[in-house]
């Protein structure tokens, strides 16, 4: 049988694997593909069989390495994801997305009256107050946040 590739390998770039099934488009939103080079191919696989998760999504982006801020955003919505840096078709580095103790500039505080939602020279900042499941607390107004998708900055 001829081996068929659903997604072709990339020469240089980033592979985000083990994304919770159904969240690939949200990961793309975090990556902000508009900001990439025009000739960078982006491949998305939704509902791929996975030994670990049952089903998963995969996103591959050519010629891009994720900023720590984007890695944190991905960690918030799909904490079991892994990130591989590809250079010259080889995996240079593979790591899971770790949530730091503080999340800066990634989420907008859901409290509209929070000072971080006013025109102030300040970035949003949350403390990770619980890890399983993840609960964040705004470092300014102390609002607790338990769902993140709708609050990505």
């Amino acid at each position: 049988m001829v081996r068929e590739l659903k997604i072709t390998p990339i020469k240089n770039g980033t592979v985000i694997d083990h994304i919770a099934s159904g969240l690939a488009l949200d990961v793309l939103r975090i990556i902000n593909i508009q900001s990439l080079d025009k000739d960078s191919t982006v491949s998305v696989a939704i509902r791929v069989r996975s030994g670990k998760l049952g089903w998963k999504d995969i996103v591959k982006v050519e010629n891009m390495e994720l900023s720590p801020r984007k890695v944190n955003a991905i960690a918030l919505i799909t904490p079991q994801a892994t990130i591989s840096i590809i250079r010259d078709f080889k995996v240079q580095e593979k790591r899971s997305v770790d949530l730091p103790d503080r999340i800066i500039g990634v989420l907008k505080c859901p409290n509209p009256n929070c000072i971080t939602n006013q025109p102030e020279p300040v970035e949003s900042e949350f403390e990770v107050t619980e890890r399983r499941p993840v609960v964040l607390t705004c470092s300014y107004c102390e609002r607790r946040v338990e769902s993140f998708l709708n609050h990505l900055a």
Binding site: C109, N111, N113, C114, I115, T116, Q118, P119, E120, P121, V122, C138, S139, Y140, C141, E142, R143, R144
Partner: protein, 312 residues
């Protein structure tokens, strides 16, 4: 840990020991707050009062506290008249103010504003209320009032009455009561109850918390009745507001089965929640509570700005 030079933004910034020390110091400050004794530990010190929303009690009691300690104030008392109206950020305003005084006291309509001010300022910042957020000095003076009446803050049964959802004083006070091991009874209209996450947090701290919507029952065997204002603007229907406000009015009838030593507290201003007939009963301590704001704020300002304690 010493409070000298520290920010005080939330009651959670203070340990139980620090709160106890401040309350002990506040008791000693009473004759100085009344003017019968004189002390000037803040001589030559200036405290900047940054009040970005209207406040009578809080601002005046802070100013009185600074002056009783021999210090002086520079004050923004009206955000409309300040440069913020010209579009200056709070961050810049606070940076500027931190050059004008040794400490900043801030009141602001946005939650988290005091935390932002603390980051902008290299001088200590004291939160005098930010939006529906924290108001730690109100909590301290509430505790001082209870302690003056009962000599303890442990084992009291405290009814929190009124708007427990949005009332900014109530969340900080409930936290402090939990720290000291007092029992909390929640009495409010269903739509203005203490948020579940706050109740969970209190229970997690080991506090005994119960809900008793019937005011008469709640009052019967309690030590403290803490009344807050039910704000009209929280209701979409005015008749709903009237019904609720009417059912939580404190008068002689509500207090007839109360313990003789029950104290009635209110952060003021009141808007009809407490009938004037209560004012002359031994239960009424709300004007004493308003006075205690001065010695409590003196104790805090002296701890933050006064001479550093040896070994502190």
């Amino acid at each position: 840990m010493s409070l000298h030079g520290r920010d005080v933004i939330s009651i959670r910034d203070l340990s139980r020991e620090e709160i106890e020390e401040l309350l002990a110091s506040a008791r000693k400050m009473i004759p100085y707050a009344e003017g019968s004794k004189v002390m000037h530990p803040l001589e030559d010190k200036i405290v900047a009062m940054a009040f970005f929303e209207p406040s009578t009690r809080t601002r005046l009691s802070f100013e009185a506290a600074v002056q009783r300690l021999g210090g002086s104030c520079v004050t923004i008392a009206d955000a409309g008249a300040s440069s913020m109206r010209k579009g200056e950020s709070l961050y810049d305003t606070i940076r500027m103010l931190s050059g004008y005084g040794e400490a900043i006291v801030i009141r602001h309509p946005n939650e988290g504003a005091a935390r932002l001010a603390a980051r902008a300022s290299d001088r200590p910042v004291i939160n005098a209320g930010d939006g529906a957020g924290q108001h730690p000095t109100q909590t301290l003076l509430d505790l001082a009032t209870m302690q003056e009446s009962f000599d303890t803050l442990t084992g009291l049964k405290v009814v929190l009455l009124g708007d427990l959802k949005y009332g900014r004083t109530v969340h900080s006070l409930a936290h402090a009561l939990a720290v000291f091991g007092s029992e909390i009874v929640l009495t409010s209209p269903a739509s203005l109850g203490l948020p579940d996450e706050v109740i969970e947090r209190l229970e997690h701290m080991g506090a005994k918390v119960s809900v008793e919507p019937d005011l008469h029952k709640a009052v019967r065997d309690s030590d403290v009745l803490y009344v807050t204002r039910i704000q009209k603007e929280r209701f979409t229907d005015e008749s709903d507001y009237r019904k609720v406000a009417g059912s939580y009015r404190i008068d002689a009838d509500v207090l007839k089965d109360a313990k003789p030593r029950l104290i009635v507290m209110h952060p003021l201003p009141r808007a009809g929640e407490i009938s004037p007939e209560v004012d002359n009963t031994p239960h009424a301590v709300y004007f004493r509570q308003a006075f205690l704001a001065v010695p409590v704020r003196m104790a805090l300002l002296n701890a933050v700005l006064g001479p550093a304690k040896k070994g502190g």
